[in-house]
Assembly symmetry: C2
Homo-oligomer: 546 residues x 2
């Protein structure tokens, strides 16, 4: 008889923030939860984004019976088109998430390839051996859910991204009743979001932003420009509501924000009367004090609307003195320099800039410590597994779990690829499956390896010096002076002396080389340049023989 084993295989989002993907496997059937991307860190040079390592799924392609998505943020849906290139399986999500998935797949020409199924919060769907119950959670995008996953091995609760907001903008609180119901039925394991595990207390309600907006709107005498995430639909609602309260018209700008606004309005997640909205062209002809513009760029992305406004390169409108700019967001770690640079430039152009330090114009979408404890008390799981976070978040989340009485041996801190098994109601560590960074750069997926990254790093630090040798066919006689060129090393035209000496070193080295000529020249030029500059440019030697 086959063992009744539930295997849990984290493929992304454990030990890092982003590219969330978890595989639940029972009896040769696999349910995938979420298909996210991760944004590159500052030293992942030239990379667009990172996707989960799907080696395990590719090896077990036939077993995948479904993909369930918790909500429409990029770190949960962003890799869907890469996944569908590897895996054929139906996708299950709530109406807004389906709407956002459709738009994304259409952009990648894959609309027809996907088998999308709408499941509303509160409903259930049977996916192979998994009965998946969608329960509503508050988050910084509407229609987010967590999953109760009933398996023959026991009931799993997968939180998704959540917070316990008692006064959410859409008046739809997290589904406490369902969580209590799970606990009545007995929960084998809780897998819960750890993003804010090192934040004490309780994340403020989205509603506090209304007060901050009131203050901004009542004081602004010119235009108001509010930047936020394109997916922060509830913030669009709050901006529209504030516009209405203060008799301004609102213009949404930017493709992604307009797309999300339209989808959310169509599906009823956004309630903005037609006559409150104007196009940016119309907005330009209205008096400044009658206008609010909402756009993207709150992370300081240079190519976003706000980024272009800060450098004076936006096409349809510019910053003028008297504008009030609100960054309704918080910098994602690693983006601080870009965000503050954007703020500084906006100040330079005459705007008054309001950001999180100045006024409470943003709150997090993730639970803080007290909410995390509440979730554990509501769900009362036997085992606890912190997910979504760096090691420090997972560790703190585990410490919190201990404080509410979950024994240390019932808590598993996993990293990507570490399989967890549940057999007869007991948790065990399983094997490790491959997981590595899969870099997406341009149209290439996975063709930037760690070594290519190290080369980019070396090139970025001290540049490159190129030595071109023309030698006789049969011996190491130089047919002409060695040619030396550089990029990113020094101001070449000011460095004749260094390059002349380097040429002499090369000539010398060539004349006495008897082993590997290229390597010898590389070393002697490298050593000489280091002695002169204390820099180690990459040295590249080409040899032509005639």
């Amino acid at each position: 008889m086959k063992q009744r084993t539930l295997r849990v295989i984290p493929l992304g989002g454990l030990g890092e923030v982003g590219r969330n993907m978890m595989a639940y496997e029972y009896d040769d059937e696999i349910l995938v939860v979420d298909t996210g991307i991760m944004f590159p860190e500052n030293d992942m040079l030239g990379i667009d984004y990172i996707i989960p390592d799907m080696t395990y799924l590719k090896q077990n392609r036939a077993k995948v019976v479904g993909i369930a998505i918790t909500h429409g943020h990029e770190d949960h849906i962003g890799a869907i088109h890469h996944v569908l290139e590897e895996i054929q399986a139906p996708i299950y999500a709530t109406p807004l998430t389906i709407g956002l998935l459709e738009a994304k797949l259409a952009r990648h020409g894959m609309a027809s390839k996907a088998d999308l199924h709408t499941v509303r919060a509160g409903e259930s769907v049977q996916i192979g051996p998994f009965k998946v119950e969608f329960f509503h959670v508050c988050h910084s995008i509407p229609d987010g859910v967590g999953f109760g996953i009933e398996t023959p091995a026991g009931l799993i609760v997968h939180s998704g991204d959540y917070k316990f907001d008692h006064t959410p903008v859409d008046n739809w609180p997290s589904d406490y009743a369902k969580l209590a119901d799970f606990s009545q039925r007995g929960v084998l394991a809780l897998f819960a979001d750890s993003t804010n595990a090192d934040r004490p207390g309780w994340t403020p309600s989205e509603r506090v932003i209304d007060g901050a907006f009131d203050q901004v709107f009542s004081q602004a005498t010119g235009r108001i420009i509010i930047a936020s995430f394109a997916s922060l639909v509830s913030r669009m609602q709050q901006v529209a509501n504030a516009a209405q309260r203060y008799n301004r018209k609102v213009a949404f700008v930017g493709t992604s924000m307009l797309d999300n606004m339209r989808i959310s309005r169509k599906l009823g997640y956004l309630d903005i009367p037609d006559d409150l909205m104007v196009s940016i062209e119309q907005a330009r002809s209205l008096p400044a004090r009658d206008v609010v513009i909402m756009c993207t760029g709150s992370q300081g992305e240079p190519s976003s609307i706000l980024g272009r406004l800060s450098t004076g390169t936006n096409r349809l409108f510019d910053i003028v003195t008297g504008d009030t700019v609100v960054l309704s967001s918080r910098p994602i770690p690693g983006n601080e320099e870009n965000v503050y640079r954007t703020i500084n430039r906006l100040f330079q152009r005459g705007a008054n800039v309001i950001y999180e330090n100045i006024a409470p114009v943003h709150v997090s979408g993730h639970a803080s410590q007290e909410e995390m404890k509440l979730l554990m008390h509501l769900v009362r799981p036997k085992y606890f597994v912190p997910i979504h976070g760096e090691i420090r978040h997972l560790k703190q989340h585990a410490i919190l779990a201990e404080t509410v009485g979950i024994p240390a041996e019932n808590i598993a801190i996993l990293e990507n690829g570490q399989v967890l098994e549940f057999v007869d109601g007991e948790m065990h560590m399983g094997e490790r499956v491959p997981t590595s960074y899969v870099f997406v750069d341009g149209t290439g997926v996975g063709d930037v390896s760690a070594e290519v990254m190290r080369e980019r790093e070396a090139l970025s630090r001290d540049g490159i010096v190129l030595v071109n040798l023309r030698l006789a066919r049969d011996n190491n006689r130089l047919l002409s002076e060695p040619e030396i060129l550089s990029k990113g090393f020094v101001i070449a035209q000011d460095s004749d002396e260094i390059f002349n000496s380097a040429r002499r070193k090369v000539t010398e080295t060539v004349s006495r080389a008897n082993g590997n000529l290229q390597k010898d020249v590389e070393e002697s030029v490298g050593d000489y340049l280091y002695s002169e500059t204390h820099r180690r440019p990459m040295i590249f030697v080409t040899v032509s023989r005639f």
Copy 2:
């Protein structure tokens, strides 16, 4: 008759954080205040640090009558050896700052070149037309001062870095009496530190850290390792005091920390009994619960002690399970990723890591908004100029000044190079003098230009592709297949197809080239590779003719 004009020339630290340097000029005599460095931002690739642009000082070398230094932090003294290579002038500072300057100059073999003068807080010194009164301020290094600068044009107050700590570790509060005295005499202009201008409230006293340390020390069952800045002398005192309270011995580790500890002890700024201290070698032979180690690396610098501990590459000791690591610091903006990566790795190695989010183990050394207002009320200046900060800090500081009643037209927000003039008690904008980033990279100062930086940026993004052509002497006949190599572009061994096609493109282009062969090949290869990969590697074409 010559106009009685005081000119103020900001050469660094305005519009940025770091490389603080201000020139006060009266009647052809110049007083320089501070000579700092700035740490590179993440996109200043390969740069060690940035120094002020000294073009103006070089052009007016003979006018410089003195250099006064407020305190011993790198952003105020770090460029002293570069300055002394350009300028000969006596240096004035308090005893500890002189001690730190001596050590730094000795490291650069310049000890004999400097003309150092000790001035104690509370004392004055006449430097040309400037009577400089040193007044004590609290900061995160002992013996910090601000300056009252009496000039024939009026009295200037230059705050230096300061906070109003009522219970500083060294029991030496900021000199309120002197500030009130200035105000009695009438202050023309206040130049004040803006670092924390967007932080509401009052910066907590250094003393609150004692409580946080008590909690850490009472709970730790193994070793305690505390990382902080090498210059944070008061933190060394607090660690030593806590060690004494909890019967542990303290070992300081790392050259810069040991140097600063010894100088501070010798000069009486640090009071640690001999028998409380052990060497790291002795510490290793003591029971874990009897030891505190204090080291550098709180900014996640990979080559620091804490950085090496996190990667298991430290020489004298390793992290073991049961260690408690405290990061007694806050990440400097831009360092977050490195700091959190270090924390994650320390957790992975079995340490419990305490950082700012978890417990109040650090406080800022800079005044917050309420202290800034207090300074203005104490000094009651006619004019106000925020210094030390990005535009956003300077702007917020200016807004604060308005709230305490300084008229907007009496507040000047300057950027580096914008000269300010005071004539007959009135402030005017003056001309602009050159200021640009002067990058220090290895032993090179200023030989990395904006263009070299752009090359590094391009190289880092998509790498480089090298095309080597061997052509006949008199026509464009290829003597052999074009050679194509790459670094940092794609995994070369997996990309035969791309490179084969690229070679064919090159051959084609060469055969029909009639203008600039190199440029044509560059373009055709670049276009082809972009169409295949959506990347734009730097293309480098060398031609050898025979």
